[in-house]
């Protein structure tokens, strides 16, 4: 199998660096603020844990503390955008967009205001805080709204690039981040292109069976580990990384589906409505394809350690390989 250029050389090592991808948001926001004086940051009493504190310290006059009021924050940001500002609103995904969905739909997306919604602490890997704080429905509720872009970066580098891109893009954006330290899969030099997927693993050819894995967010690492194991087992496995869930890179998804026997989607989200849903909706119309959707199966999360929860809800490397092996009876 062939790995993409610019991946972390320690990709298969146990001691690969682990950093929360929200750190990339914090760095990217400061850099965006340096580049453009119209960039504004808003927080709903979660300034440090969303990493907005870096921006707030550097540009106090452009930082707006909203208190614990996510619905107001969304619409205040809409108003700021209406007079030419570029507001980033940051909270936990469970509260924004979770609690402020209608405000985001009406006052940001339908109103076509240039607001960037940053949802940190998505996924069960939020860990000990438990299900109330683990957003695993956010991709679905954002993806269904017209006129909003949905991005789930894999790691710190991709998060930073996505934030810098979003600051330049004119229109509503949702960026999904996590809480826990996750493997740094890409590097500073890895390309990030809006709306484009990227082949991270190209399969071993001349195998009897083949599988195309499509991953988003920090699940990219598990997808790559599973691909290695499957290729070693003689199942030609490729990995397509999709940071931009909406708009979906249909060309890349179709190409993957056409060149592999089986499609597998992997995300730290409910199995319905997220990346798996987006891929299934598209392929069912264009090229009906057997697809396995790896994700949380219609359940709420619970307290625990991030890795243990990801394994419990069957999104770890072993769960991915097991699901594929069952299909191919190997």
């Amino acid at each position: 199998m062939q790995l993409a250029k610019h991946l972390n050389p320690k990709i298969f090592d146990n001691d690969i660096e682990r950093i929360p991808n929200r750190d990339g948001f914090g760095d990217g926001l400061v850099e965006a603020g340096e580049k453009n004086p119209n960039v504004i940051a808003l927080s709903a009493d979660l300034t440090e844990s969303t990493r907005v504190n870096l921006f707030a310290e550097k540009f106090p006059e452009r930082f707006v503390q909203c208190g614990v009021a996510e619905q107001n924050m969304a619409s205040v940001a809409s108003g700021l955008a209406a007079v030419g500002k570029i507001p980033f609103i940051a909270s936990y995904a469970m509260f924004s967009p979770g609690r402020s969905w209608e405000q985001i739909r009406t006052t940001i997306a339908y109103n076509d205001q240039n607001v960037k919604v940053i949802g940190a602490h998505s996924g069960v890997s939020v860990g000990p805080d438990g299900a109330t704080h683990q957003a695993i429905e956010d991709i679905a509720i954002m993806r269904v709204i017209p006129n909003i872009v949905v991005i789930a970066p894999a790691d710190i580098h991709e998060a930073k690039k996505a934030v810098l891109w979003a600051a330049d893009y004119e229109g509503p954006v949702y960026i999904r981040l996590g809480r826990s330290a996750v493997p740094v899969v890409t590097t500073k030099d890895s390309p990030f292109e809006f709306g484009k997927g990227q082949i991270m693993v190209e399969r071993t050819t001349h195998t009897k069976q083949s599988v195309g894995i499509i991953s988003t967010g920090s699940m990219l690492h598990n997808a790559i580990l599973a691909a290695k194991e499957l290729n070693d087992l003689g199942v030609g496995t490729s990995v397509l990384h999709i940071p931009t869930i909406k708009p979906l890179d249909e060309e890349a998804v179709l190409d993957l589906a056409e060149t592999h026997d089986l499609t597998v989607t992997v995300e730290e989200h409910q199995r319905s409505g997220g990346l798996g849903g987006a891929v299934a909706e598209f392929l069912s119309e264009k090229r009906p394809t057997k697809q396995i959707r790896i994700g949380v199966d219609n359940q709420f999360g619970q307290s625990g350690e991030p890795d243990e929860l990801v394994a419990h809800y069957k999104m770890d490397k072993d769960s991915i390989t097991k699901a594929v092996r069952e299909v191919f009876s190997i």
Binding site: N72, V76, A82, N111
Partner: protein, 298 residues
Amino acid sequence: MYYLSDKEVKALEKSANDIRQSIIEMLMAAGSGHTAGPLGMADIFTLLYFHILKHNPKDPDWSERDRLILSNGHICPVLYATLAHRGYFPVEELLTLRQFGSRLQGHPHRGALPGIETTSGPLGSGLSQAVGMSMGLRMNNEYTSQYVYCLMSDGELQEGQTWEAIMMAGKEKLHNLIAIIDRNGIQIDGNTEDVMPLEPLRDKFESFNFDVQEVDGHNMRMVADAIGKAQAVYSQPSVIIAHTIPGKGVDIFERDYRWHGNPPGKGPEDKVKKPEQGKEALRQLRSFGGSISPSHLD
């Protein structure tokens, strides 16, 4: 401060009456929509667009303009009629209200029509947007004299988000924010004080660090005076609680919550049968000049 001569008051009242007639015609053509709120706010909309606002109908996006946010989007017939009579778009287009393909959507949509500052309909989010606009304008210029007027209903104060915005406006001491509440006392299900009481409303706003004034919302001089005073408040946001008569100008509509969400032709029949309701409303507006009821604060 705003000085209004007798002649100017008469001219404004004439424009308000024209706008009320357009509202009736629009609602009759649409066959749905809200009656009481738009008629009740016609005087305030007229005063703002014909005398107070810094704006330019020929250049709706002029960057130095004041901003007028309509938070309770369901009273948009009065916004549309006022914009048309003020020259933002042809008056004839008013009759397309709520029709397929019309720029006059059932609730206002930014970008659909010149002069619409924001999309609204779901209640309680306009003040938040006005707070954002006030803050953004103040970031550009600390002593900005660009004002943000947020027109709100009393019923929508039941939305929690409104109080999040009120809290924030007080915290940020938004001197350029002026909220105007249409205190007509009704909402769809009944009188506000029966559905979910809002009183003591003045005390609530004062305790959230607002400068509060109460006016007769049909008295041009009184409202203009209050707006002038609100502009002069430099360390607080302002709210003007405008006591209005829902359905103002047509006796069959006035003070009756059943006319909140019904158009002429589909409302209660105890005074006038449905087919005659629109005609009767126009007859009253044309013959009495919309001055049937005395000001209720007299």
